[in-house]
Symmetry: C2
Subunit: 359 residues, 2 copies
């Protein structure tokens, strides 16, 4: 009773044939053998309840059928990390039918040595790097490694040679900013994302550039430092409330801070959008109950995860390293938190267009 798991050798013995034969047949190479032999092996395996040891198989084949999902130390904690959840779902959806497993790898703090030991220890066929932050140790590691890798949710500088999958942060933010401008706003504030994230940088840059393209000034006291969280949005709203001269619209780098911003404003009697227009970014489903009317930009995280997994998989299967990136479109989601500024807020603006559009 409760004896050890049967090994291939025992199956072979039971079937009365060699290890080779047994292994081949159990791997599905039925055509090599007589139907009778195949049946005998299969029957033996079944009756013994044989299940192959993936460790041994991995060692022999130099393939583990497992990928690593690497979390930065900064967001090791999944809590309040809606992003990781959705991406992970997409990853799993792609990988499940392929019988690949996912290993969660949280980067320990400490010397690069111990980090590398965790990343490159033979237990995975490749890594998905979850939104590597600016100056992440992952980038340095990557320079010494030949493991297939895909960066998810951070479009890294192309000279790193790391393939990336993310939405088009710059394009999305440009469209959103243009939309707000076209509603008639000329005084527009911005809530920045987490300072260590490439996406935050890109969204901010696109905002500034679009403003400049339309000949509008960005005033630094109207640029608030958010952190991609609800609470940071509330804090920024406080700053906005304390301002003597206020922008008539605020664009947030993400929905979480937008929701926080709005909630804090509402709590202080500021009506949205009558008194202030607010836009978000990501169209985050978990914010829907809280803020169902948010004008924002769609960010299909699930698809990002799915495509990233696929890209990694293809590298693994083909044995080729890719260096190109994929960016997904970011359609505008127009709801109700952005409206033309009311007469009391500012002069009705004349039509406007970019002075020069340079993509």
């Amino acid at each position: 009773m409760a004896t050890r798991k049967p090994t291939l050798r025992e199956v072979a013995q039971a079937a009365g044939c060699s290890l080779t034969t047994t292994s081949n047949i159990l791997q599905g190479r039925h055509e090599l053998y007589r139907a009778e032999t195949v049946e005998r092996v299969l029957a033996a395996a079944r009756s013994l309840g044989y299940r192959p040891n993936m460790l041994a198989r991995g060692l022999a084949k130099q393939r583990t059928f497992t990928i690593g999902l690497v979390f930065e130390r900064a967001h090791a904690v999944l809590t309040q990390n809606d992003y990781a959840q959705h991406v992970l779902d997409g990853v799993i959806e792609f990988l499940l039918p392929l019988e690949y497993d996912v290993k969660l790898i949280t980067l320990p703090a400490g010397r690069p040595d111990s980090i590398w030991r965790r990343l490159e220890n033979g237990t995975v066929d490749g890594h998905l790097l979850l939104a590597p932050v600016i100056d992440s140790p992952l980038l340095e590691w990557r320079r010494h490694s030949r493991l297939p890798v895909v960066s998810v949710g951070s479009l890294l500088p192309p000279n790193l040679g790391i393939p990336c999958v993310d939405v088009d942060n710059e394009g999305g933010m440009r469209m959103l900013t243009e939309w707000v401008i076209q509603q008639g706003h000329r005084h527009i504030g911005f809530v920045k994302g987490h300072p260590l994230h490439w996406s935050a940088l890109q969204r901010e840059r696109a905002f500034r550039k679009t403003m400049a393209d339309y000949g509008l000034a960005t005033r630094e006291e109207w640029i608030f430092q958010g952190r991609y969280t609800f609470d940071s949005g509330r804090l920024c709203a406080r700053e906005w409330l304390a301002l003597r001269e206020r922008p008539t619209a605020v664009i947030c780098a993400d929905d979480g801070s937008a929701a926080g911003f709005i909630q804090e404003c509402l709590a202080h009697g500021v009506r949205i959008p009558e008194d202030l227009s607010v836009a978000g970014f990501d169209d985050e489903p978990t914010m829907h109950p809280l803020c169902p009317n948010l004008t924002t930009v769609r960010h299909d995280k699930h698809r990002v995860g799915y495509l990233a997994a696929q890209m990694l998989y293809e590298q693994i299967e083909s044995g080729t390293l890719r260096e190109d990136s994929i960016t997904l479109p970011t359609p505008l989601v127009i709801r109700k938190t952005v409206a033309p500024p009311s007469a009391g807020q500012a002069l009705v603006a004349p039509p406007i267009s970019p002075k020069e559009v340079q993509r």
Copy 2:
């Protein structure tokens, strides 16, 4: 350039000693050897950039230093599964310093055979079963397996011999129900949790039992079928709104449905708690922005995860199988969505106490 990863053998060669010596030293058994030898081996390993292959090590030691986190098919998708997130955080917090990894295992649909193959293939030292549902194939599998296992978030029937870690669902719900009763409510409705979850069953049972203990009737048209989600709560609220005779309070099996219930009520002009008292369960942080005043019950998911990981770890290290369970306390979190029924709602209730208290 970009040559293969160095193996132990190459380190041994470089250091000019045997495999055994090298292996021992790299595993930290320094006291076995002369300081000079130790230094030579360490230096060789460092200069070659040696990193042990965990697969090979696992095969030799019969230990992988990895645990499996098994998701039911039903909640394979992490999205909207706040529970899994928090638990996972706790798990990782415990495991990270121990250098254990976590593998995500999503049960495929299909024959038990393919499920078992995924669970028991030598790649993990034990499993954390994430909230196994009623009639889960995991339970049947468990009867044939000797792998260490802990059920997280489902207190399974003790005769299964599976150790469990969860909060005290029954105790928490009893306290909550008593509190609502003590506020003066006599007509109390209930929003059930997901029909396949043990916790939902236990919470419902405790509600019914407490009501009975206090001599109060539970009317079946006041028992609504929720699903542990925001939207299901809204649907239940619609049913409540359509009722001819309404309870003056509704207890929900979780915060998500409570928030949905409340939001739907508010949208229909029902004031909380003036017109209706609503209670939740879980004190879910993600619901705070949405519903900051919810009276509920604390559910420390992070701690559940932490303890479960610890329990599994101890089994693995000791080689012993445990069968006992841990239940965590569930303190009441009294906020503002439960208040005494107003005069218009019902007669002011006389004091009340349980007819007989049988724990």
